[in-house]
């Protein structure tokens, strides 16, 4: 069964909001002017941040990869306490269901978009030419973002949400 992307986006809208929030947060941290921001809308893209020119690779890296960090952390922190009673004792509570939906939705939108990857690639190329070690190290990551973006066709981004929201807590709880 093929589910249209916009329906999945609506069902997981908190993830889009947090994704854009993370972009904006890192823009603010790195003093990049934010010209326009849309946290969620029904359309493509479902959200966006229009920011000013970025002049250094570290800033470009943080602004592009910010959602990956923030969404993943939020996903894990929200899902861990919600998943514990279910994992260990099969106890199902409405709050847990709500938090799991919230956490996994956020995790599903952790991956940087193709536009983020393009921005990062552009900066990585420029900075690598100036022998910026972070830019050189980041090349495989940029390639990975591209690959992941291709694999989103196979729902890899959504699988990632489940991996961080359910898989990681399972792994941690089994190690206690």
């Amino acid at each position: 069964m093929i589910i249209p992307g916009f329906i999945v986006c609506i069902a997981t809208f908190p993830g889009v909001i947090v994704h854009e929030f993370a972009h904006m947060l890192f823009c603010k941290i790195r003093k990049v002017p934010v010209i326009d921001v849309c946290f969620f809308r029904i359309g493509n893209p479902a959200g966006y941040v229009v920011h000013g020119q970025i002049n250094d690779f570290t800033t470009a890296f943080l602004v592009s990869v910010g959602p990956f960090i923030i969404n993943s952390v939020f996903c894990f922190l929200i899902c861990l306490p919600a998943y514990t009673p279910f994992y260990a004792f099969g106890i199902k509570e409405p709050l847990s269901y709500f938090l799991l939906w919230l956490g996994i939705s956020i995790g599903m939108h952790a991956f940087p978009s193709t536009q983020d990857a393009k921005n990062l690639w552009h900066h990585a190329k420029e900075s690598a030419g100036r022998c910026n070690p972070l830019a050189i190290i980041s090349f495989p990551l940029v390639i990975l973002i591209y690959v992941v973006n291709i694999l989103t066709f196979f729902w890899l981004d959504y699988l990632y949400g489940f991996a961080i929201g359910i898989g990681l807590p399972t792994l941690i709880l089994s190690q206690i």
Binding site: I17, F21, M24, K28, K31, P33, V34, I35, V37, F39, V50, G52, Q53, F74, L77, I78, L80, P81, A82, T84, P85, A88, F89, G90, I91, L95, S96, L99, L102, L173, I176
Partner: protein, 301 residues
């Protein structure tokens, strides 16, 4: 503000209201006409909106003839530039973030008892495996208290408590507790109940019952040397009180089979010595008493 002239209708208009169609500047009204004139076949000419560098693109502030600073090639006044650089998060975002953080903290605090319970259950399992049934049952009981909605934890706690009472030779107590948690694993619990019944029968000097239960366990698990030795022990008790040689022969028969299976197990050797001591002296003493009297073991003279 910069004004310019539409090259089509010759009107003077603000630069922001004009377009550039392949080097031709035109106003909005003339745009369609100019585009049609430049069109070659199906190919559309390139259209570009003109930007006045002296008018802020955001608030339309007019800076006279002085150009404004640019952000991504768009003229921005000082006020808007400051706003973009320090753009605040919308109130609803802050509010939502606050609610989510509060929910996460609440969920962590509320569900901490589950994490704590898992930790205690795992520690209880470890304690039980190394034979520390007292610690096992105390940890498991604490875990059960933390998650009262899961009765299974309490059943395991009762099972560990039964094991603890069994190890303390409180057989009556162990039987009571084991009966309460039978639903956990009926076969396993039945086995432990029989072990407790053997202990109880031994303490009550009811050696017929001792033999009956020992034989039941042996029939259930025929290849376990300790269970064979238990039958041998029951026969030895019966020999000690009756002096009937057939019981002695039976005891020796079972202990002989058990020795073949047990190999060099230290625990088994002590048990074997106790049974042989019983057959030799016709004196029935407990394991504790035997260890106290013969700390270095007993050998048949």
């Amino acid at each position: 503000m910069i004004n310019t002239t539409c090259q089509n209708c010759k009107r003077t208009i603000p630069l922001n209201d004009t377009f550039k169609v392949q080097e031709t500047i035109c106003c909005t009204d003339c745009l369609e006409q100019v585009v049609k004139g430049k069109q070659t076949g199906k190919q559309q000419p390139q259209i570009e909106r003109q930007t006045d560098p002296t008018v802020c693109f955001n608030c339309k502030f007019d800076n006279g003839h002085q150009e404004l600073e640019k952000i991504i090639n768009l003229p921005v006044c000082k006020k808007c530039s400051d706003y973009f650089e320090n753009r605040p998060f919308p109130v609803w975002i802050k509010l939502s973030l606050g609610i989510v953080i509060a929910l996460v903290i609440f969920a962590f605090v509320y569900n901490f008892r589950f994490i704590n319970s898992i930790y205690k259950i795992k520690a209880a399992d470890k304690a039980f495996l190394i034979g520390d049934s007292e610690r096992a049952y105390k940890l498991q009981a604490a875990a059960a208290e933390l998650v009262p909605e899961e009765p299974g934890i309490g059943l395991v706690s009762s099972f560990y408590e039964g094991g603890y009472l069994l190890s303390r030779e409180n057989y009556e107590g162990a039987i009571d507790i084991f009966n309460k948690c039978k639903s956990l694993n009926p076969e396993l619990i039945d086995y432990f109940i029989k072990e407790a019944l053997i202990g109880k029968a031994f303490n009550n000097k009811d050696y017929d019952a001792f033999l009956e239960y020992a034989m039941e366990i042996h029939n259930q698990y025929p290849n376990i040397p300790m269970h064979m030795a238990s039958v041998a022990s029951a026969y030895a008790c019966k020999y000690a009180v009756t002096s009937d040689n057939q019981f002695k022969e039976k005891s020796l028969e079972y202990i002989g089979k058990a020795v073949q299976l047990a190999g060099n197990s230290e625990d088994f050797k002590t048990y074997e010595q106790r049974i042989k001591h019983r057959l030799h002296t016709k004196e029935i003493i407990s394991g504790k008493e035997f260890s106290k009297r013969y700390p270095n073991g007993w050998k048949e003279p």
